[in-house]
């Protein structure tokens, strides 16, 4: 049974190119990509560098209008940012350095249009959920990379959107921090009912966090295959040691390896990333 309400995001035939044909910088990032994101699932987008996964994320979120194709969130076509429905967490540190953590979280709500009285309690709730309650008054420069990303996540959570788009949020962090944040994210998400689209480079991260993993081909990117990961949330940290995990990870590796090689040989081309 598949009714319209089960689909949170519908992507149809999206292609995107940067620059005009004939320009030196013309890049075909995405080619004829279609996707249905189920409500409440965590969908991972994984693929080699430059395959267009971040581009697709930006298109879904309304930050980019695709050259062809459409995106629908619920029944609304996406033509620009939808701050009430979609929140972002970026890889690059997008916290405002002149604001404290609390001020950063509140500022997001100011932009979204949340009434003044609701901002403080919502901010507190989000910061507690990510474990940053003690650091509310700190400035981003005073925090570690992992804590900054927690703050960015809190800001996104406080917007109370149905959909969360995360673009390699842990990409700039070291392995150990990634592990901890991944486990905490899984716990957090089991408590909410958000739909999440999560871009990553890491095979292990994809298998650990996702309900489904969409594997991209090399540029121009399109979805090669979607793998199901049938494992309940919150994921047990021991899941990574199981044979099931290893099998899934190997499957991903098999799908990805040749695409990664293709991408590396393409990387002489100068163009926008992913």
């Amino acid at each position: 049974m598949s009714s319209a309400t089960d689909v949170a995001v519908r992507v149809e035939g999206v292609s995107h190119s940067f620059g005009e044909p004939g320009d030196a910088q013309h890049v075909r990032a995405l080619l004829d990509t279609s996707l249905k994101v189920k409500r409440g699932e965590l969908l991972c987008l994984i693929g080699p560098s430059g395959c267009g996964k971040s581009t697709l994320l930006n298109v879904i979120g309304g930050l980019l209008i695709p050259t062809t194709g459409t995106v629908e969130v619920g029944h609304t076509p996406v033509r620009g940012p939808l701050p009430r429905h979609i929140a972002f967490v970026f890889q690059e540190n997008a916290l405002f350095p002149w604001c404290t953590v609390m001020e950063n979280v509140k500022l997001g709500m100011v932009f979204q249009g949340v009434p003044r009285a609701e901002q403080e309690p919502r901010a507190r709730k989000a910061l507690e959920a990510v474990g940053l309650a003690e650091f509310m008054g700190h400035y981003p420069a005073q925090l570690s990379g992992g804590m900054r990303q927690r703050a960015a996540l809190a800001r996104a959570l406080s917007l109370e959107t149905g959909i969360l788009l995360m673009d390699e949020p842990f990409g700039a962090l070291d392995e150990q921090t990634r592990m901890i944040l991944g486990e905490d994210l899984s716990v957090l998400l089991s408590r909410t009912e958000k739909t999440i689209v999560f871009v990553t480079h890491s095979l292990g991260e994809a298998v650990f966090l996702a309900d489904r993993v969409a594997v991209f081909s090399a540029r121009p990117g399109t979805i090669k295959e979607i793998i199901d990961i049938d494992e309940p949330h919150p994921r047990n940290p021991d899941f990574v040691t199981t044979e099931k995990f290893a099998k899934l990870r190997n499957r991903l590796y098999g799908l990805l390896h040749e695409e990664i090689r293709k991408a590396v040989s393409q990387s002489a081309v100068v163009g926008p990333q992913s």
């Binding site: 970026f90 350095p97 604001c99």
Partner: protein, 253 residues
């Protein structure tokens, strides 16, 4: 004693300064003709008489006032022009080259013109000061607006920020440390402009007295007057510098 000095460079600095002043004192009293140089002790003692010289306190007061007004005007014009040029890519590309060209020209060559147009009173001094002060302010504000990391603008847009909200909550706060750095440089410019103009006009204001003391071969009073002006400059510079340190707190670069 040596160990103490080695551990505390601040103390050593003080010793160096004292040694230089002592050298000055000795040289002025023994080697150099008193017509050309005065020992620091004399200068200190005679500071009072400098103030007693008719017209000096008024000239000092007017100079200070000129500095304050020129600075205020520079900041106002610099802020408005800086924002106007920085916020629009088109304005930036069109007008920045012109501004940089003007910034780089030796304005000293047109000082006589300023006096010609504005007279020998405070107006010309203020105008020349403003002319020196606005450029660093404009340039730093434009940089502050243009250097904002694109990800910050993207994040704000993704959260639904309107154009006004983008300016009020993202661009403006980001630009503030640059603004204060610009004001520090602007103060240096204003000091230079106003003092140059003052020294040039030898018939009124500070310039009259520097010329007078020079022609009368009175190094004591001349040094006294210069010291007072130098102190004024140091105080003003320090005020702006402290403001910059205080408001530039979040900057890590």
């Amino acid at each position: 004693m040596k160990a103490e000095l080695l551990r505390r460079p601040g103390l050593a600095r003080l010793v160096v300064v004292v040694a230089l002043v002592a050298l000055w004192e000795i040289a002025a009293r023994t080697v150099v003709d008193p017509m050309f140089m005065a020992p620091p002790s004399e200068v200190l003692i005679s500071l009072g008489s400098v103030f007693d010289t008719g017209g000096v306190p008024a000239a000092l007061r007017i100079t200070f006032w000129e500095l304050a007004v020129a600075f205020a005007i520079s900041v106002a014009i610099g802020l408005v022009v800086g924002l106007a040029v920085g916020l629009s890519k088109f304005s930036n590309r069109s007008f920045m080259p012109i501004i940089l060209l003007l910034y780089g020209t030796p304005q000293i060559t047109i000082l006589p013109l300023f006096i010609l147009y504005f007279g020998i009173g405070p107006a010309s001094k203020i105008a020349f000061g403003v002319s020196h002060g606005i450029f660093p302010i404009i340039v730093t504000i434009v940089a502050g607006v243009q250097n904002i990391k694109p990800i910050l603008m993207t994040a704000a847009r993704s959260m639904g920020a309107s154009r006004w909200q983008l300016f009020r909550w993202v661009i403006f706060p980001h630009m503030i440390p640059s603004f204060f750095a610009g004001m520090r440089l602007g103060m240096t410019g204003v000091l230079l402009g106003v003092l140059l103009a003052e020294l040039y006009v030898s018939t009124a204001g500070i310039g009259y007295f520097t010329t007078l003391f020079t022609q009368n071969f009175d190094p004591t009073k001349l040094l006294g007057l210069i010291s007072i002006l130098a102190a004024m400059a140091i105080v003003l510079n320090e005020i702006v510098r402290r403001a910059e340190v205080h408001y530039g707190r979040w900057r890590t670069d």
